[in-house]
C-alpha cells in the first residue's frame, strides 16, 4: 500500500467537513486516527461505513496479490510465484525460479539420468543447490517416488501443474513477449487471469548453447518454473549462478561478519590473509584457503559488504581500517609468522599498510583468489616447512 495516512484522511468525512466526521463508530477517536491506522494496514476499511466507494476500491486493489504462490511437490515441496515487481531494483524478487528436469521412465537410460539428476549438487557463496524438482513421466512405480522422497527430492506429475500457466518454448522471442505480458498484467493491473505462476517447458535440443541462452532469458524475464527435458550439468550450474545473481535482494548485499576466521586448525604458524566482508569476496577467498589444507587465518575488514576495489574506492578499506581490525583481534600475539597477504588488486597499498602495522610484513597476493594455491606454494614459509 502506497497511501499515506494523510492521503487516506482526505477521503474521510472529517476532511470533507461532513456531519458524520469524527463519529467514533469505527472505534477510533477521530477520522485522522482511523486514517493513520488504515494506511499502515492495521485496521479494516469496512469499519467506517461512511468511507467512499473510491477509497474502498483503492484498498481492494491494493490488497490483491499480484501473483499467487503455488506449492509444488508431494512429500517435499517447492514454493513458486508470489512475485510483486517487474524489476528487481523495485524491491526484490521473492521465490527463486524453480528448475525442474523431466525423468521419463519409458525412455531407455532413464535410470542413468536419475542418477545424474540426484547426484547433482553445487555450492556457491555458501549456498548449496540441487535440482529443485523432478518431473516424472511414464508409468512411474511407487519404488521410484519412495526413493525420491528418501533422497529429499520434490517431484511432480503433469497434473500437479494445473495452477501454473504453461508455455512451451517454440521461439524465444515470442516466449519472452508472452512472459512479459503476463507479468505486467499481474503486477500492474493485478489481473486475476494472469495471477498464476508461469512455467516454460524446454523440449530436447541438441544445441545446448542455444538452450542455455533461451533458459537465461526466461530466468531474467519472468519465469517461475523452468522445465528441461535435457539434463546438462554445465547448463544447470550456470543457470543456478544466474539465478543467484538475479534473486539477490538489491537492498542488502550479502555480508559476512567482520572478524578473524580460522581454517584447517589455525595455529601460530598460520598464514594470514586479508579481505573484505562482501560475501561474494569472502567465499571466493575462503573456498581457496580451505582447499589449501594449510592452517590459515582470514582477517575480514568491516567494509559495508563491498568488493575489494569497491571498498577501496569508497574508502572502506584503508590502511587504518586494516590496522584497526588486525589489532582488535590481537593477531600479532597469535602468530609467529608475521606476514599478511593482501589482495593483489590492492598491491599499491602495501607500503601504507606496512606503516600502519609495523609488526607485520605485507605480501601482495594474486589478483584472483583462485590463483592463491600457486601463490602459496611459492612462499618461503611454506617451502621451509616442506624442507623440514
Amino acid at each position: 500500500m502506497e497511501l499515506s495516512g494523510l492521503q487516506v484522511f482526505k477521503y474521510l468525512p472529517a476532511a470533507k467537513r461532513l456531519p458524520e466526521g469524527n463519529c467514533k463508530k469505527c472505534g477510533f477517536p477521530t477520522c485522522m486516527a482511523f486514517a493513520l491506522k488504515l494506511a499502515k494496514n492495521q485496521t479494516e476499511i469496512e469499519l467506517c461505513s461512511y468511507a467512499p466507494e473510491e477509497l474502498k476500491e483503492i484498498f481492494e486493489q491494493g490488497m490483491k496479490k499480484p501473483q499467487k504462490e503455488v506449492l509444488l511437490g508431494h512429500k517435499h515441496k517447492v514454493l513458486i510465484g508470489g512475485e510483486n515487481v517487474l524489476f528487481r531494483h523495485d524491491k526484490t524478487f521473492v521465490n527463486k525460479t524453480a528448475i525442474a528436469v523431466v525423468l521419463d521412465v519409458s525412455q531407455v537410460g532413464w535410470d542413468e539420468k536419475f542418477k545424474r539428476i540426484t547426484e547433482f549438487e553445487i555450492t556457491r557463496i555458501n549456498e548449496t543447490f540441487k535440482v529443485d524438482l523432478v518431473y516424472l513421466k511414464g508409468d512411474v512405480q511407487p519404488e521410484l517416488t519412495q526413493k525420491l522422497d528418501d533422497l529429499g527430492f520434490a517431484y511432480i506429475f503433469k497434473d500437479d501443474l494445473k495452477d501454473v500457466m504453461q508455455i512451451e518454448d517454440e521461439n524465444i522471442f515470442e516466449t519472452i513477449q508472452t512472459l512479459t505480458k503476463i507479468r505486467k498484467k499481474a503486477v500492474l493491473e493485478k489481473d486475476e487471469n494472469y495471477s498464476n505462476p508461469v512455467t516454460v517447458y524446454f523440449r530436447h535440443d541438441e544445441n545446448t548453447l542455444k538452450l542455455m541462452s533461451r533458459a537465461a532469458f526466461c530466468l531474467c524475464k519472468y519465469t517461475n518454473l523452468i522445465i528441461f527435458e535435457d539434463f546438462n550439468e554445465a547448463l544447470i550450474s550456470t543457470l543456478i549462478t544466474l539465478r543467484q545473481n538475479i534473486y539477490t535482494d538489491p537492498q542488502k548485499p550479502l555480508q559476512v561478519e567482520s572478524t578473524v576466521y580460522e581454517f584447517n586448525n589455525a595455529d601460530e604458524n598460520s598464514l594470514i590473509f586479508l579481505t573484505t566482508n562482501f560475501a561474494l569476496t569472502y567465499f571466493a577467498v575462503s573456498n581457496e584457503i580451505e582447499s589449501l589444507n594449510k592452517p590459515a587465518y582470514i582477517v575480514v575488514t568491516p567494509s559495508d559488504g563491498m568488493s575489494v576495489l569497491t571498498a577501496w574506492s569508497a574508502e572502506k578499506f584503508t590502511a587504518q581500517i586494516v590496522a584497526k581490525t588486525v589489532n582488535q583481534f590481537e593477531l600479532a600475539k597469535k602468530v609467529k609468522n608475521k606476514q599478511i597477504i593482501i589482495p593483489g588488486l590492492l598491491g599499491h597499498m602495501q607500503e601504507e599498510i606496512e606503516e600502519a602495522l609495523p609488526e607485520f610484513e605485507i605480501l601482495v597476493g594474486p589478483n584472483e583468489a583462485y590463483l592463491l594455491g600457486d601463490f602459496v606454494k611459492g612462499l618461503t614459509v611454506f617451502k621451509n616447512e616442506v624442507a623440514k
Partner: protein, 311 residues
Amino acid sequence: MKKNLLYLWIKLKMTEVIKVNQPIREINFEGLKIGGENDFLGSKPVFALELNIFDFSASSHIVKDYFNPQGNQLLPAETINLISVAQETPCDILALKFNIPEEDLEKNIAEAKKLLKTLLPHIKKPLLIRGVNNKSVDIKLLPELMEVLDREVIIAFATENTYKEIVPAVIKGGHILAIRTPIDINLAKEMNILTSDMGLSLDKILIDTDMGGLGYGLEYGYSIMERIKLAAFEGDRMLNMPLIAFAGEEALKVKEAKSDTFSKSFGDFKERSIMFEITTASAVIAAGANLIVLEHPQSIEAIRSEWESKR
C-alpha cells in the same frame, strides 16, 4: 477537480504505471541500427566479436581453442589471418582490443598504430577500437590510433578520467564513443552532459554502465541497465543512448570460466566457459543492452540465431 487529480495521482503511484513511450536513440553505424526500441527487447541486439589483437595470448582458453587450436605463437603477419577468420563468424562488428603493456608506452603505441594500419584494408566489417582501461595508456593510445583510421568506428571507451583527452579526437574523426561509468546512473548521465558540452553529438554516444561477470556482481550492472532504460523510456534525453556491454570480457575472467578444478556437477569445463559468456550476454540483453561485445564466436551464434528466427 482537485480531488480527481489526487485520486489519479494515488492510482498512478499505486499501480506504478510505467509510461513506456519514448524510444531509445537509434545510432546508424555503417549500415547497422543500434537501439531505437521503445520497450525491453524491442530492438535486435547487435553483436561485436572482440579480439586481443596486440597480444592474442591474453585471450581465454576457449577463444584460443577456436582461433589457434595448435597454440602456436602468432606472428604479426598472422593477425591478418586471425581477422579474416573472425570476419567469417556471424558477428556484426569486429572489435579490436589493443592490449598493449604500459611499459615502453611510446614504442608500443607506435607498434599498435602500425598494426592497425596494416589491418585496416583487410577489415570489411564495421569496426570497434578499444584501449586497455588504464588512464595513462588510453589517453595517449586512443587519440593516436584515431589518427590512422580511414572510416567511422566505435571508440571504447572514455571514462571520467580520460574523456578530456579522448573526446576531441572522436569529434574530429566523426566517430562514436562508448563512455564508461562505474555502475552509477547519475554519473552516466553527468558524463553524457559533459561530453556533449564539449561538442560530441548525443547521437554518437554509447552508454557503458560497466558490469561484473556472471556470479561476480552481474546483478549490479544488470539493474543499472534496467534503470537507465526505464529513465530513457520515460523521456530522459540524457540517458536514452543505446547501451554497450562488454559481457565477454567480464564473463570469461571469472573462476568458473577459467579453472577446471570444479566438481563434476559444474559440468564440462569448455562447455561451461562458453555458457558463462552466453548467459552473461543473455542477461544483459534482457536488461536492455543493445551492443554486446563477446569473445567467442559460438556465443554470438547461439544467441543470435534465436533472434534471427523471429525477424
